[in-house]
Symmetry: C2
Subunit: 353 residues, 2 copies
Amino acid sequence: MLGASGLSITAEIVEKPDGKPLVQHPGGPNPVERLSALLHVDMARVNETIEARMQSPIGTIPDLASHLVGAGGKRLRPMITLATSSLLGYRGDHHILLATAVEFIHSATLLHDDIVDGSDLRRGKPPANRLWGNSASVLVGDFLFARSFSLMVETGHLRVLDILSRASSIIAEGEVHQLAVIGDIDLPIDDYMTIIEAKTAELFAAAARVSAVITKCSEADEKAMDQFGRSLGLAFQLVDDALDYSGQKQELGKRVGDDFREGKVTLPMSLAYHAGSSAEKDWWEQMLDADSRNAAQLTLANSYIERHDAVGKTLSLAKSHAAQAKAALDRFEDNELRTCLRDLCDFVVTRAY
Amino acid sequence: MLGASGLSITAEIVEKPDGKPLVQHPGGPNPVERLSALLHVDMARVNETIEARMQSPIGTIPDLASHLVGAGGKRLRPMITLATSSLLGYRGDHHILLATAVEFIHSATLLHDDIVDGSDLRRGKPPANRLWGNSASVLVGDFLFARSFSLMVETGHLRVLDILSRASSIIAEGEVHQLAVIGDIDLPIDDYMTIIEAKTAELFAAAARVSAVITKCSEADEKAMDQFGRSLGLAFQLVDDALDYSGQKQELGKRVGDDFREGKVTLPMSLAYHAGSSAEKDWWEQMLDADSRNAAQLTLANSYIERHDAVGKTLSLAKSHAAQAKAALDRFEDNELRTCLRDLCDFVVTRAY
């Protein structure tokens, strides 16, 4: 019943992503909006479940959680769980619980990331730790993380718990790895890819894979769903890293240049460094050795990045991962939902332009 | 096999608690040491599992985790899981995984607490966040928390995951609650009890209850185990809060007076306030309104606490919870292990003197 209703088309957009306004394509609604429309009944149930399960008699918890979750965001990860469940023909209610669990894990990592990053903007608003302090952000993150496991338990699927607990430890590993190599301009590109796969793609992969688990699909279907999510997540993070050098503040919902300021070595910086003259290399090294970096230095960094087409090359790599994500969907039924998911893969890349 | 070996007596003490040296009773080894001896084979396996499961290719993770876990601590919570499993006649290996999971949850909360408390001593050493920074402490805590769920998944018991995920969200709730009432001298004693039950007793209760689950005991046995752990946890935390006013630095492994300095309203302060003259009440209110409190003020606080026997009353309450914990064990087989667990309940209180 749910799977079927999720497939009905409606013009109404249930959830407008107000955190990161999406570029409107000339041809009509973008794939995120089309997926929101296709899945609007399920998305409404997920939003209700998110709201219900973040409640607690301790008022700070729903207050702080609402600040983050209410700030919008695209709900991309729960949407992936809902869309893939529907595509696989899942019938039941567990996809709602799992989509909520996936969003809670993502929210917990964002609350903890705010402390790590020290950024002053998240989804266009001050991050929760600026308003409630680091302590409350850490603890509410823990609360959401614990609740996500309770939601999974309700589905009765141990494999789901296995997949999402592993994903959670891999995410933490990726974040610690990223922290450990801050300022390391010589970071091998393989290490960069390992980091973004762990910190971002792993949850995308799990969000899609659990749909195959609850639908009792074959091992091959499960792997294809994992591959779809993983490649989409890689494309997504590569574009995110490119946008940090080329995007606009209102598109990103965060300050452009945060990675540079934090000394975080992402692919655009890495490519510009390796392609740079020895004078440029010296400059990058000095930049990253320093305790902080200013706006004038960001402008120069951007000019080097442009000179070596480092954003363009990052987006090309994103495109090839998006193509792999699309290909992973080939084995599944060719319907409107699959078309939307394929378009989503392209959209994740084109949102950069 | 394991349960049986866990019951064999040996003089060797496998793990000396070096973090919080325990008061040696004149009559011989204290109950923690006797339990360590009785359970030494299982405890050695738990220590190996802790060591193995905190590994990661990202070196910061085992380094930081070892700093905390290697600092010792009494391993009281995993010991409860091992002891109750043995008492219930459990045969299998799952108690090892669960004891490790319980210790990982506890370790994760300690790493996150360090950020909340801002204390400069944990188990007699500088806390991990002083050495690796808040970010790494948050993320390694997340890693251990995620790993604890993977360990539970390996047991194949969904009810265990249910119990420990609920316990984890209740712990976080308790910590946020505590944070929200910092400096509130009028905190009702019921609220204080709710906080310590959530932040401490819940995990003790879960550590004992899961033993009944994996041994497939009756609902009544499960409840009795929960009650045992819960009451023991309450006694333990009440004594901890008393020791913060009456203990010695080397006994506590942390600075005496931390609660006072942080403006944390615990039972000794609460009792002294409510029993105090109006001049004393004014003093307490001013103390808690201020941003910080110094050593001279701690001395005066201690004199008021002594005047109203607030530590003594706190310990009396701890004693009554310890008695409830002992009573909860009445329904189980009367053997050496039960005797040790009963003695542990007394010891948790007497360690204060």
